[in-house]
Symmetry: C2
């Protein structure tokens, strides 16, 4: 199995510190990386379905009783966290190569 898609990793990353719902993940990416980087709703909900089927995430209870009933929250499974860690390490290694080849000027990560 080669590496996961960039969107899959971004979703795992978003869920790493808190359970979130699809639309909330989109908004989080939008705030952090700008509106251009935000995935479409179509991509997001298809990705969530696929990731749940793959056992990377699972549905979680709403964090508040007064929450919007439409929201479907997701949490990382142990497998999902493990995959996220593995991909993080792979990306970190890639960034290290980029730095060695002078593609990154300042040490930012």
């Amino acid at each position: 199995m080669p590496d996961m898609t960039p969107l899959t990793f971004r979703i795992l990353l978003a869920l790493a510190d808190a359970n979130r719902h699809g639309y909330g993940i989109i908004k989080e990416i939008e705030q952090r990386d700008g509106p251009e980087a935000a995935p479409s709703t179509g991509a997001m909900y298809l990705a969530l379905q696929r990731m749940e089927a793959d056992g990377l995430i699972e549905e979680a209870p709403s964090p508040s009783t007064a929450d919007d009933a439409r929201r479907r929250y997701y949490a990382l499974t142990p497998a999902g966290r493990s995959e996220a860690e593995a991909e993080s390490a792979r990306l970190a290694a890639l960034v290290a190569v980029a730095r060695a080849k002078k593609l990154l000027v300042a040490r930012k990560a």
Copy 2:
């Protein structure tokens, strides 16, 4: 335009410090990341064609007169280098988030 594909970035990365030919890039990735991470020949040559059409790379002369005549060498264009730098920065930012969310234990990059 969203982000480039992982394969595209790996190719740009491979060409960042030297001109290389398709098969050589595959072997370089295989040595650095293991046999599982190596792209298929089908993916490689299609990617090279696409990237040349997109102006990210261009064909370069053989580095040696005694070289294998079948090899087609490629070099980064200025646009290709610029894109590689931009994607490197994006990935570095992503790795920084992964580190902040405790997905990376040791500082490796």
